[in-house]
């Protein structure tokens, strides 16, 4: 196996920035990381492949991403008013392939949330499709496979 450590370093840097932006709830900056045609998906069933025709926890195109951010920041939603703090760590980055400027990556992810019920942890596998954009990337697809999403979750008021 040939290792492209430069690409790995670039991808890791980019995705760590994404995680940092989300922990800081800088949602408008987060939007800029995306291709407009990109999809943000949190599936229920980890074996699903046809997400468009499956029921997901979230399936956001550009328009829904904007609406979701408005919801999370407007102050209208009672579940977001005690704005929960999150800490996320990403690790175990692996480049799956790099074809025609489209890089497929997966990594391990854990999100810790602090709310009135205490600290909760969501372990997940993340899958990205990234498109090269100058020195950086744009997100063409992000799939968040939360470990227990097919059993049960609790309600969440942030982005994974």
């Amino acid at each position: 196996m040939k290792l492209d450590t430069q690409l790995l370093a670039d991808v890791t840097a980019f995705l760590n920035i994404e995680a940092d932006i989300l922990d800081n709830k800088d949602y408008l900056q987060w939007l800029e990381l995306w291709l407009e045609s990109g999809l943000y998906i949190v599936p229920v069933d980890h074996n699903a492949t046809d997400y468009a025709n499956s029921l997901n926890v979230a399936y956001d195109d550009h328009e829904m991403r904007i609406l979701r951010i408005e919801r999370l920041t407007s102050g209208y939603a009672v579940s977001t008013q005690l704005s929960e703090k999150t800490v996320r760590t990403t690790s175990r980055f692996r480049i799956l392939d790099d074809v025609d400027g489209l890089v497929r990556v997966r990594c391990a992810y854990s999100l810790y949330e602090n709310n009135k019920n205490g600290i909760r942890c969501y372990p997940a596998n993340l899958q990205f499709k990234l498109v090269r954009d100058g020195d950086s990337f744009k997100i063409a697809e992000k799939i968040v496979k939360i470990m227990n999403s097919s059993q049960y979750l609790t309600t969440v008021s942030y982005l994974f």
């Binding site: 025709n53 408005e70 919801r71 209208y76 977001t80 059993q151 309600t155 969440v156 008021s157």
Partner: protein
């Protein structure tokens, strides 16, 4: 005065339910919860599945009646069985996972094998059972099951009235609800499951609570177009709540959307114009396009069936009691079997927009329910008020008690059934 009723003066749980209020201990008392499992969930019809969740011979779904694990399965002849999920040898569950397809149920412990109808087929190393094990007597224990319009219910009570009688006035509304397949048979398209730290009755009440909608769901309303926001502005409209008997009730929020086969000639709302165009391009007739578009957002009412299922506008809401202060909710998305893909896709997207752990509606509901549970711990005594709309009741054409759309008529209906069941003496 009722407000001065001291909980200490109350002898039975049924006394905690008055006509216009219930005692807050119904949300948090562990002994009451145990008694509810026995007197309610083990004692009435409980919804388990929709037939479309079991499409083929061998399709199964695991579920619970109260806290008891059961299997719902379709056998080779397509007949549906409900069985306790417990091996007759030393009691292991024989089926795990949410749903799937199998040829048989094999116990993981010592390998007893059961057919799809629950009959015990094979026992490894049978010699030691010579003359002492009659296989015919050791099938999985069957639970009585009946269905209405694809909705599968079961009961542990052998002499309970037929499902048809139990549903009674709710049947008319189920008949209307199934029309949202848009001319195709109703089909479950998957479920989202989540838990909240609160009592199951808080969710039961919520399905017939339209009073909270403009407050709790302000952020959802802000996320839809003006035309849709107007549709959801129903508190001052002609909606109503009707007590359907047996604890069931219907809350009609949008009267124009009660019958999805009516008014097919109405203009197509802007938010569905892309869908209409796509369907027309696929060659569907104008009438068919209109029928699908009218059905895509679901019906204008919530049917609350006591104790654990609701036909809620466009989806099934199934509640599963976990403990006095924890409840699991299943939101089951629905579409049409064989309906155009774009129609089912749109229904799924609409569902995801409001429902589930990351929907624009559910998390805010969840927060309100959590607060009710937390608030119920305040004070040594206190009541949950259910008297809204009580002074303005009327009688519906069907002869039912009817209140305003934002009255608490449906909650009172559910709690009167609750009271009746809880007042039944224990069988042991």
């Amino acid at each position: 005065m009722k407000t001065e009723t001291k909980v200490k003066s109350i002898n039975s749980i049924a006394d905690l339910v008055l006509d216009d209020r219930v005692h807050k201990s119904l949300y948090s008392d562990k002994n009451i919860f145990e008694e509810e499992l026995e007197k309610i969930f083990n004692n009435t019809w409980v919804w388990l599945a929709h037939e479309s969740e079991l499409p083929d011979a061998g399709s199964y779904k695991t579920a619970t009646i109260g806290r008891q694990p059961v299997i719902v399965v379709r056998d080779r002849k397509k007949k549906i069985h409900v069985m306790l999920n417990r091996c007759r040898h030393r009691g292991a569950t024989v089926c795990e996972g949410k749903s799937g397809k199998t040829k048989a149920f094999t116990c993981p412990y010592h390998g007893w094998g059961y057919g799809l109808d629950g009959s015990l087929r094979a026992v490894p190393k049978p010699e030691e059972y010579e003359n002492i094990l009659d296989k015919a007597e050791f099938g999985l224990i069957k639970v009585r099951t009946e269905s209405y319009k694809g909705m599968i219910f079961a009961t542990l009570k052998k002499d309970l009235e037929p499902l048809d009688d139990f549903l009674g006035g709710a049947k008319k509304w189920i008949d209307l609800f199934v029309k949202q397949g848009g001319g195709y048979p109703l089909k479950a398209l998957g479920d989202q499951r989540f838990r909240f730290p609160g009592n199951w009755k808080i969710q039961l009440e919520n399905t017939t609570d339209s009073y909270h909608f403009p407050i709790v769901h302000k952020s959802f309303i802000a996320s839809v177009d003006e035309q849709a926001a107007e549709v959801f502005d129903f508190l001052d409209g002609d909606g109503f709540v009707e007590d359907l008997g047996h604890g069931h009730s219907v809350m009609v929020m949008i009267p124009e959307l009660v019958d999805l086969e009516d008014n097919l000639d109405e203009p197509i709302p802007a938010r569905y114009s892309d869908l209409a165009k796509q369907l027309a391009n696929e060659g569907h007739s104008d009438l068919e396009v209109r029928r699908l578009v009218r059905a895509v957002g679901g019906g204008g009412f919530n049917l609350n069936i006591f104790p654990n299922i609701a036909c809620s506008m466009a989806f099934f809401r199934n509640l599963v009691p976990i403990s006095a202060n924890e409840t699991e909710i299943h939101h089951i998305a629905l579409g049409g079997e064989g309906a155009p893909e774009v129609f089912n896709q749109k229904r799924i997207r609409i569902h995801e927009h409001f429902q589930g752990p990351m929907g624009f509606g559910t998390p805010d509901d969840g927060e309100a329910w959590e607060r009710v549970q937390a608030g119920s711990m305040a004070g040594s005594d206190g009541w949950i008020m259910l008297n809204r709309g009580m002074s303005k009741l009327s009688t519906s054409a069907d002869g039912n008690v009817r209140g305003a759309v934002c009255s608490e008529t449906g909650m009172r209906a559910a709690y009167q059934q609750y009271k009746k069941l809880m007042a039944t003496p224990s069988e042991h």
